[in-house]
Amino acid sequence: MNADFSRVVFLHDEMLSLTNPTLMAHANLPRIFVFDTGDDVHGCFALKRLQFIADCVAEIPGVLTYKGDTAAVLTALGVKSVVTQNTPQRWLHGRLGAFAVDWAPEPAFAEYRGALRRFTPYWKKVETALLTGKQNPAR
């Protein structure tokens, strides 16, 4: 294994498109996807879902795909730092804890900084902007 994997794009299962902004912004870096066999991750997935993900990964050029524990795979490849898209999936933050990680923001849908107790107040503040493209001064 002679390739330099010190810095890679870690492709997780919420960013499976060749048009993903983080992927496109780092087109020069190796691309790694791991089917993480942990029971809290892909280890509990039904077969059809693993196959669906494989369809997605297979479409993206140059992705090296592995099966195993994410941290162990990256360590074995000699990875030191990772670029990936931010995610609320806590397992991934845990698995990448030993690496230097650049968490790129995921593409925003709406501008909103209010409370998240109920959907309706959120919707009232983002509705105009989402439907017209105009900024909503109430946000």
């Binding site: 879902r49 669906f52 609320p88």
Partner: protein, 260 residues
Amino acid sequence: MEQLHLPDHRDARLAAIAHYFPDAAGPDASIPGGRIAALAALDRVDPVAYARSRNHLHGAVTRLSPYLRHGCLALNEVREWALAKSGPSGAYRLVFELAWRDFWRRVWFERGDEILRDIEPAKVPLSDAPFAADITTGNTGLACIDDSIHALLNDGYVHNHARMWFAAYVVHFRKIAWREGADWYVQHLLDGDVASNHLSWQWVASTFSNKPYFFNRENVQKYTDGKPCMRCTASRDGSCPFDASYESLDARLFSRGART
């Protein structure tokens, strides 16, 4: 670790994944993944027809959720496409539903794994009966419920209304803890997403909403044209647990017992 080779040909790829994951349960994926399939699905979406018929099980739903879940499509990409095709009025309902997805996700970002527990006290008595095999195999004897379980197990895609019926059946009619149902359900959904799934179950249970969601037979008939009821034994022999008014169901489901 093991490096996987994903063949270009889909049939070979499905077989390869089955080989790499011999313990993974269930049939092959009937719905293809990837951005090419996602764009084809997007091209079939009719935002106006969606708004008119989305609650009906045979309505013009988008089936985009597996692609949104895995990033094959971005929420804004779908929003912009819908607005360009149907304008703000025609695209309203679709954008509204996309916003629900964004809202759930924001809650997940904000609360992290707290969303795996009750966010608020339940507004009705809940319980924690064991999750039963008749549910996980789709043999409850209730056609409207079993249909959705079979769709889940076979295709990994279930109409949103049927998801709500199923969650309400598990939580309120069978008195199973919402987390049990949500954990099982998310494993089989192609669009399995902890935020959209678990928070929707909490919405049904009333631990992240002002009241519980439940349904009756009339609601099922309205949004299925009565087809499941016509071949349902429980419907024919009078044992359908959903065959009641909302008032009597409310009294039956929530008047006794308390969460332990």
